[in-house]
C-alpha cells in the first residue's frame, strides 16, 4: 500500500504550496497519474479521505488525469501503446524500449483560496 506514502507526499506538496502564497485551503487539486507509474488509483482513492483529514486538502475536489502508456522500440524505432511495463514491440518483439509516456506521478495544479 505505497499509495499511502504517495497520498502523504501529495498532502505535503499541497501544504507547502498553499503556505507559500498564504492561502487557507485547497478547493481543487489536479493530479496526473500514468498507467505505468505503479500507482493503483483505486488504492489512492481508498486512503485519500483519511489522509487529507485536517489538512488543507480536506474538502478539495480531486481530479485525476490518467496518462496512457507509450513506448518506442530501441531496435526498430516503432512507437506503440503500452498497458504494461513489460509490453514488447508489436512489430519486432524486442523487449528493449524507451518509455515515452505513462510514468507520470505529478501534482499538476492547485486551486487555492
Amino acid at each position: 500500500m505505497h499509495e499511502l506514502s504517495i497520498a502523504l507526499g501529495i498532502v505535503k506538496i499541497a501544504e507547502d504550496e498553499t503556505a507559500k502564497v498564504n492561502a487557507a485551503k485547497v478547493t481543487k487539486i489536479e493530479l496526473e497519474i500514468g498507467v505505468l507509474s505503479g500507482i493503483e488509483i483505486e488504492s489512492l482513492n481508498f486512503v485519500w479521505e483519511s489522509v487529507v483529514q485536517d489538512t488543507v486538502l480536506e474538502r478539495a475536489e480531486k481530479e485525476i488525469t490518467v496518462i496512457e502508456g507509450r513506448g518506442k522500440c530501441i531496435d526498430c524505432n516503432t512507437e506503440f501503446d503500452m498497458e504494461n511495463i513489460y509490453d514488447c514491440c508489436p512489430k519486432c518483439n524486442s523487449n528493449f524500449k524507451g518509455i515515452l509516456k505513462g510514468k507520470e506521478l505529478k501534482v499538476k495544479a492547485l486551486e487555492v483560496i
Partner: protein, 262 residues
C-alpha cells in the same frame, strides 16, 4: 497522521535502532505536519497554482544526496528487495561470513517490526542499523539518510540495505543505491516477474535463491529468466543457494569487481 506509515499519533512510525537500543529511546521518524494557520483572505478569491511537481521529488532529492555521499566515499550500496521469505537475510549472512575478512561491510535492515534481522547480522560482528517502518511497507530515502548518519561508514566499504520484504511498494522509492538487487527463490512461481513487473523493471541484478531445491519444486528456471528479461532485458542473473553455498562464488566475484568501479 504520520508521514510514512499512516499511523495515528501513537508513536507507531519508523524507528532507527542499533542492536541493544530500546525503542523508546530511538529518535522518532515522524513527518507530522504542524497545523498551519494562515491569514485568511476575506475576498475568498480562487487562485490556480500551476505547480507541476513530481510527487516523488522529495524522495528523489534525498536519494540523490545519499548517492553523492556514497560516491564521494567510494561506498558500494546495494538495495536488496524481494518478497518475504525469499532468503534476503540468509544470502546476506552467508555473503558477510565469507567476505568479511576481505571487505568492510555495513548493513541497514528494514522490517516493519523487531530487531531480529539486525541481531542476526550483529552476531557476525558487522555494524548494523535496524529501521522499523511500523506500518510502512518500504524504506524511503530519508530513513536511509538518517540510518547512514548513525552508521558512520568507512570509505571503500559495501553497504547492504535490506528492504522490507515486499515485491510491490519498494520499487518506487530510490534510496540512492548503486545497484538494486531483486531476489526470488525457486519456491516462488516462475511468472512472478510479470506479476510484479515494477520491481524487476527497476532492478539491475536478479538473484535466484534456493537453487538446491530444484529437484523438489516445480519451477522452470529458464522460463522465470525469460519472464524477467521480458520486463527488463538488462537484468544480470545469479543462481545461488544461501544454504549450501552453491553459486555464491560468482556473486562474490561480481561484488568484488563492481565495488571497485562503483
Amino acid at each position: 497522521m504520520c508521514g510514512t506509515c499512516g499511523c495515528g499519533t501513537d508513536g507507531n512510525g519508523p524507528t532507527i535502532l542499533k542492536p541493544g537500543e530500546h525503542t523508546h529511546q530511538a529518535e522518532h521518524h515522524h513527518h507530522h505536519h504542524d497545523n498551519h494557520s494562515h491569514d485568511h483572505s476575506h475576498e475568498h478569491k480562487h487562485k490556480v497554482l500551476e505547480i507541476e511537481q513530481d510527487i516523488l521529488q522529495n524522495n528523489a532529492v534525498l536519494a540523490a544526496r545519499n548517492r553523492g555521499y556514497f560516491e564521494a566515499k567510494n561506498i558500494f550500496a546495494l538495495n536488496l528487495v524481494s518478497s518475504p521469505g525469499s532468503g534476503k537475510t540468509s544470502i546476506l549472512e552467508r555473503t558477510l561470513t565469507d567476505l568479511k575478512d576481505e571487505i568492510p561491510f555495513y548493513v541497514i535492515e528494514g522490517d516493519q517490526q523487531t530487531l531480529n534481522d539486525a541481531n542476526r547480522i550483529d552476531a557476525l560482528d558487522i555494524p548494523v542499523i535496524q529501521i522499523n517502518t511500523g506500518k510502512g511497507c518500504h524504506l524511503e530515502s530519508d530513513m536511509v539518510y538518517d540510518a547512514v548518519k548513525k552508521l558512520e561508514i568507512k570509505n571503500d566499504a559495501i553497504l547492504m540495505i535490506e528492504n522490507v520484504g515486499n515485491l510491490v511498494c519498494p520499487s518506487m522509492f530510490d534510496l540512492g543505491e548503486s545497484k538494486r538487487v531483486v531476489i526470488i527463490s525457486t519456491t516462488e512461481g516462475e511468472d512472478k516477474p510479470i506479476k510484479y513487473p515494477d520491481m524487476f523493471h527497476t532492478s539491475d541484478i536478479c538473484i535466484i535463491n534456493k537453487i538446491d531445491l530444484l529437484p523438489y519444486v516445480n519451477i522452470d528456471v529458464d522460463k522465470l529468466k525469460n519472464y524477467a528479461l521480458q520486463v527488463n532485458p538488462k537484468l544480470l542473473f545469479f543462481e545461488v543457494s544461501a544454504t549450501t553455498g552453491q553459486g555464491m562464488e560468482k556473486w562474490y566475484k561480481w561484488l568484488k569487481e563492481n565495488r571497485i568501479n562503483s
